[in-house]
Symmetry: D2
Subunit: 344 residues, 4 copies
């Protein structure tokens, strides 16, 4: 397959290129950047030198893309994909979009959080690219909306409970999430300078983060009832990783061990979910597509706590996109992704 990476100079783009270097059967033939067009890829990212065919690639502007690749991986800012995708799809290409442009099925909800949509007619055709839930649909999709990083960590952690219907939707799910700084991309803002983040910890967007409706959409779909969820993100002074601590009450009395069994059954055969008895750590999934999770029960308060970790830029972006690429091209989900975490 000829692959095009749109928005190759952000961190999701860099991670895509890292992961795609493994694949001898696909070739990255196109890398685009609005700001860095004309530069050699490996001059911009020296880390990629001597890998695959990357020494030969030159960043080009994201124009006249039709026909230049068979599958486009869109890693640009929110808003770029919804303008580019229609003509790419019309030209017969497939699109995996890592932005939020096609994640919300309801155009009104999209507009409320992100502003007007440039191609709302595509929303019904887009498949939400969470392989554990939508695997069969992804295999047949032409347009995949790669999930957000926070929603990936939260939806996977709650899917078994929602599918079992053992959550009472009158309760609020509380999600306290901590993300590494790559989650902000290469954004040039004072708040992301090393000196402002190192040896520091802070929350942000404490009310109203835009990943909230995505979580609610998918959890409600799994439960078949509208769920209420309050989401609070924090910035952890690490490069990669999201840890979500999730608090909820169930509508049944269920021993923790039985809940574990339900989780293991739900994720039976899922290569990249590891349900564990150990406390999850972000370093255990660094650089991989794994989602580790563990379950806890606070008996004094009849409260369940579910902790999940992913690598936000791999499982939460580029790695999940490669799984989707695998499924869309008839390969196994872990093709080219079957390696261990970099730890320490």
């Amino acid at each position: 397959m000829r692959l095009g990476v749109i928005g190759a100079t952000g961190y999701a783009g860099l991670e895509l290129l890292r992961l795609l270097a493994f694949r001898s059967f696909d070739e990255v033939v196109l890398v685009t950047s609005r700001q860095e067009a004309g530069q050699k890829l490996v001059d911009f990212f020296p880390a990629l030198k001597s890998l695959a065919n990357y020494d030969d690639l030159v960043l080009s502007p994201p124009v006249d893309l039709e026909g230049k690749a068979d599958i486009f991986l869109m890693a640009a800012q929110h808003g770029a994909a919804m303008s580019l995708a229609p003509s790419l799809l019309a030209s017969g290409a497939k699109v995996i979009d890592l932005s939020a442009d096609y994640r919300l099925r309801d155009p009104l909800e999209f507009e409320k959080w992100y502003g007007p949509h440039a191609s709302p007619e595509l929303l019904p055709t887009a498949v939400y690219g969470l392989p554990e839930i939508y695997g069969p649909q992804i295999k047949k999709a032409n347009l995949v909306a790669n999930p957000g990083c926070y929603p990936t960590s939260v939806i996977l952690a709650l899917a078994p409970i929602m599918r079992q219907g053992i959550f009472n939707p009158s309760e609020i799910i509380i999600v306290d999430a901590k993300s590494g700084v790559t989650g902000a991309g290469r954004t040039l803002q004072a708040g992301y300078l090393f000196t402002e983040v190192y040896d520091n910890f802070r929350g942000y967007k404490i009310v109203g983060h835009r990943h909230t409706p995505e979580m609610i959409q998918e959890l409600s779909s799994l439960l078949a009832m509208k769920v209420k969820l309050s989401f609070t993100p924090h910035l952890a002074p690490i490069n990669r990783g999201i840890l979500s601590t999730i608090y909820l009450r169930l509508n049944v009395k269920i021993p923790l061990k039985d809940l574990y069994n339900q989780y293991e059954a739900f994720y039976q055969g899922c290569r990249f979910v590891r349900v564990r008895n150990q406390i999850p750590e972000t370093a255990n999934v660094r650089g991989t597509n794994f989602c580790d999770m563990a379950l806890f029960y606070d008996e004094a308060n009849d409260l369940f706590k579910i902790v999940s970790v992913i690598d936000n830029i791999c499982r939460g972006a580029a790695g999940q996109a490669v799984v989707n690429l695998n499924l869309m091209t008839g390969r196994q989900e872990d093709c080219g992704l079957d390696y261990g975490p970099l730890r320490p």
Copy 2:
């Protein structure tokens, strides 16, 4: 005053010595260590060289302490103070204990979490050393139980609501806290090695942390009703700082602005509490006795979120002990503590 620092070779001891170096009117005459006795203080802690009279101090074993100081600051492991304090108090000295030994008023509750108490008869006389709440009592105390780091951040963040009685005790307060690694002391465990913590994020003691009863005791006392609280600590890869994100529902409809007013009124005149409109960051209190807090309202879920930050080893341990020392010796609470955070 002649001061004795018991357990001078831990991080709380080091921080005490850093803070006490400012005080020309008091003198540290005694520094003890079980393991390092015989060593010069500044050989063990080169950072302290040339400060105050520290070049002359030699670490001594924690025995025969009576009469050697007027006030003892106990920074040793849990369990040491409850054995040493009775005879020190009997000899006329005052004691500020930074461990958990005298924080819980109920001996049964203490035993449940920490094991048997060696001097339960002192529990009724110990004053919980949170100056904003117990200032008048501290001034007259001979034995002060310095609060735990997590409880300090949580109780201060909730005290105005509890005192106002606007919390419904049938609800659960959820506290998701993140602490820097100094919270674990200089414990020599593999899990606290640099390589195990750096670029990593994890929870620990996700159910049943021993600071929970301390929070419940004080919040229940403020509310005059038993509260329910679920506490979850995490280890953030930073040196200092606790950030607590607290989720709760109130039993009244109150605009956020009015709640802010109540907080400002409650903390009127409190030198070390800064109620703010900005998102708190641990770096803003680094090395100081400040507690910064901000209030948020998630309208969609009728949920309040309160975020507080402290420096766990200063406000959460040594700094608060120095405030208590100030109050017990008739000084202003901020005497020798009136400086700004080290940021960055």
Copy 3:
């Protein structure tokens, strides 16, 4: 004294304000910023809230400064001071410049490294503000050029050898220095983003860093002969601290112990230099004005290695400026600076 801080929104400005908050006898009456003028100081730097009179200060543009303060601390970008200082000095104020504008005595040398000088006539009157070397001159100075961070760490480490004349100037001094990221200020460049610096180590400006002529000027002055020095800076992923590892050969055979004695004699009575037998660590001077140093001898190669550490933003900038302020106003050098490092 009425103090003015010019360029108050950089890290040197922030550190100055942190240190000046201690001084009840001086008052910061003026804080300027070109870009943030009109904003309240504590809105820009929430860390400073409730300190000294800072809640009342508003950032003003750096214009019409004459008469507004008795002493101006210039913490702006290189180039600002050389335009502002002439009229301030003419108006009777004193100036402590933290930039490089008045450090080089030779206007041609200045021009070579920094471009044309706007007030070269002041260069002969400026005193190089390294208190251990120029203390007497600083006391009488109206214009003090605060040394650069790297030069401070290097000149202090070599001054005893140079003054003793035991270095052979036909040899090259090799300085391999490592600096924390605050050395780059709050510069908004991609290379200083957290994600680009964290868990990373790199050199920069490996040949031709602008601090080189400053070191050569002062070391040559001490030796009374022109020295050759090759300086290589690196960016360490820490907030604060410079560690300089210096390699040189002496022109005499001298036992290490004797060299230690010479260093101790040279720095006799210098409050802020700690000559030690322990390996220096940047954390031991964090937030202080100390310079720690240790000496080593590689017998196999007849090579001396001198290691020095400072806090680049305190001793290497704001702290040293406060020492100079102390000396210029007749106070002891450690007035308001007599506290210990924040460690950990």
Copy 4:
């Protein structure tokens, strides 16, 4: 091939297992640990769960190893291999030793730095496992001494100059190296606690580090004359990476561009050496077997500066061992190692 990993619970062991998980054609059949014997591998290292056949492996004590594997990768402490290797080799197995036991060819030199050798008769048969220099010999070797991390970064950076003979051996080579903390292994010492390393920078073993003779042996061999070298290591607060800054004078006048050409010619066809015009950064080689290097010329001092970076635990230990494994088993050097760095 059946592979045995001896000392599987250190960081080199963990990294070996990460890298070997890629290889479908080899199988790890044995993992040993003195202290953790009896435990399941993935219980000790949860990061490795679900990879290769690791879920089935149980740590065994390092006894009766003969016949249990075809190739043994020894990642235990210094001293273990020299006792175990003789009988393993005698039984027909091959050995790749990641410790220092077989790196020095001169038994007296070994004894001087490490103490008595248990199997000095094997020293002449051991091949120094630096593939760019000893590739042909490695292919035929039964016992490979995997190079030390520092020596790898230094020898590769200097090999072209030494081989060309353009260095004057009366001069001293100065090597100022900075290493991440994994270089210390999982050693449980207070100095490697997070709180002692984070936001800190220090040197260690400033004179007399044991990697010095290894560098001198190999550089002298390349130059065919004894070289003098002074080595100074530092501890950088990062997980992985070594950056070596090397200072030396050549005995010829050679333009930098020509020296670059010589380096490129020397490393022609070497998959894992990247000679570059950009300043090397440790993050550019994180998790890979690459060695990046760049050359600089300080004209004022006629001094060359060479900067090289490797990942100390990959290229400096486990990754290089896998290259050696590839060569010893007739595979291409980059087999299973052909992927990009994890950046950020």
